[in-house]
Symmetry: C2
Subunit: 166 residues, 2 copies
Amino acid sequence: MRALNPRPLTAEAFARYGDVIETRGAPREINYGHTLNYHDLAALDLSADGGRAAVSIFRSTPPTYPFAIRVMERHPKSSQAFIPLSGRPFLVVVAQAGVFDAGAVEAFVAAPGQGVNLRKDVWHHFNLALHAPSEFLVIDRDAADDNTDEVTLREPLLLHAPEPAS
Amino acid sequence: MRALNPRPLTAEAFARYGDVIETRGAPREINYGHTLNYHDLAALDLSADGGRAAVSIFRSTPPTYPFAIRVMERHPKSSQAFIPLSGRPFLVVVAQAGVFDAGAVEAFVAAPGQGVNLRKDVWHHFNLALHAPSEFLVIDRDAADDNTDEVTLREPLLLHAPEPAS
């Protein structure tokens, strides 16, 4: 099995898959100086075919690592964002949109202050908590139609947990 | 000055203003049992007049309490959601939509696991951190038009911090 070793999540490394939602760049000061606004951090794409923006909370239990990545999914009509609420890192496993290429699957470890917004059509594994059950805010599209494709890998990839935070 | 003493935030008490975003009710099990999905927790209302859903992070510095509430605002074209990212409680000061009534202003203390989604037109004070600078995920409407009304209270209200968490 090919090993997947997560690397740190950065906006640059993740640009081909979507946005990193984090306090980055120059905020605007609002509310009479009480608030810094890191504005409009993700290209949400939720309204195709009558879809509407929806917000949910996912409570994710970490699998046992190393963990075999066997199935990936994509949402052809919308973006999907995950923002950690529990102050713990998590893993993001992705592959570029288009024809699925198992050889191109990458893994990232998101720091507690980093969320991600997956662009429409980007292949990804379901949300992977680390260390302990963790909650995530999820912003995605609500509609009655189907909006998920799945692919089963011919050979699983073995996802290793990162070393404990240094 | 009339004193405002925050009471605990509950979905029932907040129903006239909007939604409480929290793990409540019966979740759906997804992702082969690794995830509980508390689905669609808020009536986001972001697409009027060509608006689109936007996600930002606000870093809020708490004012000194007791704090004089002098100005309230509302967004006539959209909802606005605040979800705490820093694991700390915060204060929500609101009044019903319609003609502003200073006598009807209420304050709530949101627990660290509670966000709020303010309905369109609901009067509210800007986001009020407690205890320490805190970050919030904000989901609101992005558009080029104006979407904020302000009202200045004839007589400020004096907002008291809640007793330390019991």
